[in-house]
């Protein structure tokens, strides 16, 4: 932003090249940088905190263990003990989305999950795993997912398309929910913060008026932290539920 009085709430989502490999080759953008940072932080933290492997954990180790147990209980709860073979997958997704969202809460940081292409890639990855494992494990019986139990034959022509659409809508709802929450939250935050600047430049009365958006900004920041954690949780829960469908395809 060149002009400090002009507020551009979309500016924060802009993608800039940091460097690129050759002319028009693979570019390392700020988005990629923050993905690397996200993975690096997760990896570094988990490795360092569990390096001691103490029986009585230190604080850092206890947090790692809590994260493990939290996700493990979630996977066990929605996909059963059989679903635990997907625990690394769900844990990786949960940690990536959580840390990426939390990175987004730092001022001047780029939010990876505010771009739909990232969340769609994650959701499609989930769907590829669900369909792939479902077909591998159950073969043609996987198609039973689209034929609910105990439905008379003559309504199947109506019910099956509905079930198929319901299944196809999953990656969309999974990705759009995460992306929309993060995008909308960040824009709202920026717009309210922009009001402070605009009102503050109006003189004494403006200063008083600027108090209101300031309070709102503080409140929304707290809400955003909640949303960031919640969306990571929802993403992981739904992933394990969809995996449950792949493991036990009949409803």
């Amino acid at each position: 932003m060149a002009d400090p009085t002009k507020v551009d709430p979309i500016h924060q989502f802009g993608i800039t090249n940091i460097f690129s490999l050759g002319e028009g080759g693979v570019a390392f953008t700020n988005s990629a940088l923050f993905m690397v940072l996200t993975v690096g932080l997760i990896l570094g933290y988990l490795l360092l905190s569990t390096a001691g492997r103490k029986l009585v954990p230190t604080r850092a180790q206890a947090l790692s263990e809590m994260l493990y147990e939290f996700v493990a209980n979630m996977v066990r709860g929605s996909a059963g003990t059989e679903g635990m073979k997907f625990f690394p997958f769900v844990f990786a997704l949960f940690m990536f989305v959580l840390v990426a969202n939390m990175f987004g809460m730092f001022p001047f940081f780029f939010t990876v999950t505010s771009h739909i292409i990232v969340t769609v890639a994650l959701a499609l990855l989930v769907m590829v795993v669900v369909v792939g494992y479902g077909v591998y494990k159950n073969g043609f019986k996987f198609l039973k997912l689209f034929v609910p139990h105990g439905v008379p034959g003559y309504v199947l022509p109506i019910v099956v398309p509905i079930e198929v659409v319901s299944f196809l809508s999953r990656p969309i709802s999974l990705s759009v929910r995460l992306f929309a929450n993060i995008l909308a939250g960040h824009i709202t935050l920026k717009v309210f913060a922009g009001f402070i600047v605009t009102l503050g430049s109006l003189g004494a009365l403006g200063f008083l008026g600027a108090l209101l958006p300031l309070i709102m900004t503080v409140a929304i920041t707290a809400l955003e932290f909640l949303v960031a954690a919640l969306q990571a949780y929802v993403f992981a829960v739904l992933t394990s539920m969809y995996l449950n469908d792949a493991i036990h395809p009949s409803h």
Binding site: N73, G77, P161, I162, E163, V165, S166, L168, S169, R170, I172, S173, V176, R177, A180, N181, L226, V227, L230, Q231, Y233, V234, L238, M241
Partner: protein
């Protein structure tokens, strides 16, 4: 959990201590399990209200968008605009409702209401209202 050796030892006093300790550990474990279940239930009920709302909304809309999109593409392919899209819009609406009812059923199963909660009419006369 393995039982501590009870009658195998001739020395009575030490056995008593082990038995006592074992039962105390078992009791503490039971208490902790109950407490953990309680806190996790409360936490999921309190913090995810907003998550639930957003989840239901997005699931409903996603189904409609997907179905309408499929219908539109089929129309482009078969040159039947706009008929398949209209039919698929309705199918998508139905699928959206199905998504919502299904996730609400899952939520209810995950967090059943407490036993003494007043939910209106009892189970047996519920069918009268329909």
């Amino acid at each position: 959990m393995a039982n501590p050796p009870k009658e195998q030892r001739p020395d009575g006093s030490e056995n008593k201590v082990t038995n006592d300790l074992a039962s105390r550990i078992a009791a503490a474990k039971r208490d902790r399990a109950v407490e953990e279940a309680e806190t996790s239930r409360r936490a999921s009920g309190d913090t995810s209200q907003m998550g639930r709302a957003v989840r239901l909304g997005s699931e409903f809309i996603a189904a409609i968008l997907v179905a309408t999109g499929i219908g539109y593409l089929l129309d482009l392919w078969l040159n039947t605009r706009p008929w398949i899209m209209l039919v698929m819009l309705l199918v998508g609406f139905a699928a959206g409702i199905l998504n919502v009812t299904r996730s609400v059923a899952e939520m209810n199963k995950a967090a059943p209401p407490p036993k003494d909660a007043d939910l209106g009419s009892a189970d047996d006369d519920e069918d009268d209202d329909r």
